[in-house]
Assembly symmetry: C2
Homo-oligomer: 463 residues x 2
């Protein structure tokens, strides 16, 4: 339990309005987008400036109080859960877009800026920032950097790290450090911006983010295709990319999701379809026309039973809303949903899907999955109930088999969600032990008292 | 001077044919693409396997012998010069393309593979790897990773780091470590691949490189435009990008280069042009047609006196050859050429060019420059003679003013060449001191005896 004098010092730093201690307030900061992990913080602090964050960290560091940084808490690996109690440092009040530079094609934002608000502001200037995690309506820019977020757009445009130019971070001792800059090319020393990217709040608190932008694509078309099975659908995406067209976005959902969506919000989806794919092409209008024709042709040749082209932006938005609804459908399907995230080499996707079937048969759990197609990133889910100890343990073991199947095919534990709490027990199987040790040593340099998001990414010794 | 028993142990590791000690052989490894720095190694070792490299490093580490890793030595910041003597570890014999996976759109190569050979092999499969430093005909893949190489293609496609998925590296103690993997999305812990990218051989020896690939663009067009001055040319590129078209490549040369090229290999260039821009658009054939028209329109509206579209691939190749000849023209222009590399925010390019003019007037040195346009990356050169102590010191001071001018505009010391030896005396002005210290501490973890490319990137204490 935190000392009362720490709380009163926090109040001096941020004002009383910036510190929460009531149980019902703390509760809101005890969980993230997973449904399996929760832990109460002792106190929540909502700073409004970098200077306040610096003072909070200095205080926490001197008193060895854990600090778990959090944006909107939409992450899905347990990363923002204050598993050791202490302080939750929530950045949502630092939500200013500091600069949008149309000529330099860059922007600088505070960490609490909501991704969707950022893109709305950019759209007014004809600009575009591609990373689009499923949580884009609520997630904060700071969270997307800390988690190196992906999303459907990443097939063509790459993940968050490919857009970061500069960061201001506050170190555990309170020092405010700048790394990188505002130029798109920068070869000044080691890639320190990348060190903090995807570090899940374990190395520093991110307080300013400079990203590169793209001009908004002039045109886009969305297509929907129905397949008899996922393997055929995945192969179709490979065929499309192999033909030289990289779709801007690509996603697929399975029969379970199709039926759930139709139950929740009827959209006229084919209830007997085993796999439904969404594809978007964007760019030059002439190119989008010819690309769309090429994609449709390849979809049909690759066995699509039905292909629809969205007739306008509204219909396209409805298709993509279905994909978002897919996630809601999965999360609402059971008391506890182990919703996971693995990636395999693109040429191993069919083999991985087969292995999922085998694991399902062997363990007796239905394995639902949706994914991105085109980048080998798949989200398998197992429905269970954390209150049924035995079943939950078997569900976790089944998920372990899924992770190991991905690793055995040259895949990775996480494509876009990060390790957090969710997957740390598998990390030793997924990484070179010396590389794992290197991460710990880097953490040791930056955070010698282990106050920043302790207990995350790797298992603690003796745990 | 290295002990004879070290040399004989190296011979045991690689065979006698893998170890060079004759002065005339060592001389070839004493310089890089700069014309200012040289230092003789004590011995050159040319390993053929990762295991040999592991044994070489173990030996060097135990005996605290400096090891400077080098590919083709085409780098232009002094990075591969064995400034402390010791061992040059040259990777050119490890030149196998280990895997090209068309479905996964990835390839794995040894570090000694020449970039041009890699792209030739990829082209046969309809694949494409964009990073294209000027040295592409000779530079090795290992070198491009160690220097995080850029090039004209990076305007649209980004630099080397944006294509790296996995590395095998040998640590100073000989341990062979794997980081990253073969999937395009990977959120397993910190971005350790990026730690080694651009680390200029100071953290480990890179022995395997896995990169993501793109399908070869179906079409491309190259344009040449003549402007009255660089500022107008730079503004034209900004206008093009602002209109939503990001050219695949962009480069410009000044009147000095135009005249030198015409002297060396007459191409019919306009001798009175003050700025000559090259632009390439690529992608979907229909898009390239409409983009080209749009680019030509904007070039003319932005004040181009003349715009030519290359009529076929041969003419396009001739245009780009001119750009390569531009570098040769610059390097051959004086006994010593301080050929530099800075980047400024795109919207500060005009201001920077004005500052170059002021520095030239104030110092009396003619400042030649060519650049990439579109990414703010500029290569200014000063012609001097290292044998004339006084003049050379003044030339270096003038270059220092150029660096400071770039920094004052929010630019960076290096856009693509790295720091090496060339710019380390300015590093303290260009980086947060704590970030600089962080780099040293990371180096300390990985290379506690400071054997890997010692004396590079930052100045040594007391130096």
């Amino acid at each position: 339990m935190i000392k009362p004098e720490i709380v009163s010092q926090l109040q001096k730093i941020t004002g009383k309005e910036g510190v929460l201690t009531a149980k019902e307030d703390l509760n809101a900061y005890s969980y993230d987008g997973t449904t399996t992990w929760t832990h109460m913080p002792d106190v929540v602090v909502l700073p409004t400036t970098t200077e306040q964050i610096s003072r909070v960290l200095k205080l926490a560091n001197e008193n060895k109080v854990p600090v778990t940084t959090r944006g909107a808490g939409t992450n899905v690996s347990g990363g923002s859960i204050p598993i050791k109690g202490g302080i939750v440092l929530c950045t949502v009040k630092m939500n200013k877009i500091l600069d949008i530079n149309k000529t330099n094609l860059t922007a600088t934002v505070e960490p609490g800026v909501v991704l969707q608000n950022f893109n709305t502001a950019l759209a007014k200037e004809g600009l575009f920032y591609p990373p689009d995690p499923q949580s884009f309506l609520g997630c904060t820019m700071g969270g997307t950097v800390a988690e190196n977020a992906g999303g459907p757009y990443c097939v063509k445009y790459g993940v968050t790290k490919q857009y970061l130019l500069g960061l201001e971070v506050v170190l555990a001792n309170g020092y405010v450090m700048k790394v990188g800059g505002v130029t798109v090319k920068n070869r000044t020393g080691y890639e320190l911006v990348m060190l903090f990217t995807g570090s899940e709040g374990t190395l520093a608190v991110i307080t300013k983010i400079t990203v590169r932008l793209l001009p908004m694509p002039a045109a886009s078309k969305t297509m929907m295709a129905v397949f008899d099975d996922m393997i055929a659908g995945g192969q179709a995406v490979s065929n499309i990319i192999g033909s030289g067209v990289v779709p801007a976005k690509s996603a697929f959902v399975d029969n379970f999701v199709i039926r759930r969506i139709e139950q929740m919000t009827p959209m006229g989806l084919p209830l007997d379809a085993n796999a439904l794919m969404l594809l978007m092409d964007d760019g030059n209008p002439a190119a989008v026309e010819t690309d769309t024709q090429q994609i449709v042709d390849i979809l049909k040749k690759s066995g699509a039973k039905e292909v629809k082209i969205a007739k306008d932006a509204d219909e396209a938005a409805a298709y993509w809303k279905m994909r978002s609804a897919g996630f809601a459908a999965v999360f609402g399907a059971a008391h506890t949903v182990l919703a996971e995230d693995v990636a395999v080499p693109r040429d191993k996707l069919a083999e991985f899907i087969k292995k999922l079937g085998e694991i399902s048969e062997r363990t007796g759990f239905f394995i639902q999955y949706l994914g991105h197609a085109g980048d080998g990133n798949l989200h398998p889910s197992i429905f269970t109930d954390i209150r049924k100890e035995d079943e939950f343990a078997r569900a976790q073991a089944a998920m372990g088999e899924i992770f190991r199947a991905a690793l055995s095919l040259g895949g990775v534990l996480s494509g876009e969600h990060g390790i957090g709490l969710e997957k740390q027990r598998f990390l030793k199987e997924a990484m070179d032990p010396v590389a794992l040790d290197l991460m710990k040593k880097i953490k040791g340099i930056l955070d010698p008292n282990n106050i920043l998001n302790p207990g995350k990414i790797w298992e603690e010794e003796g745990a």
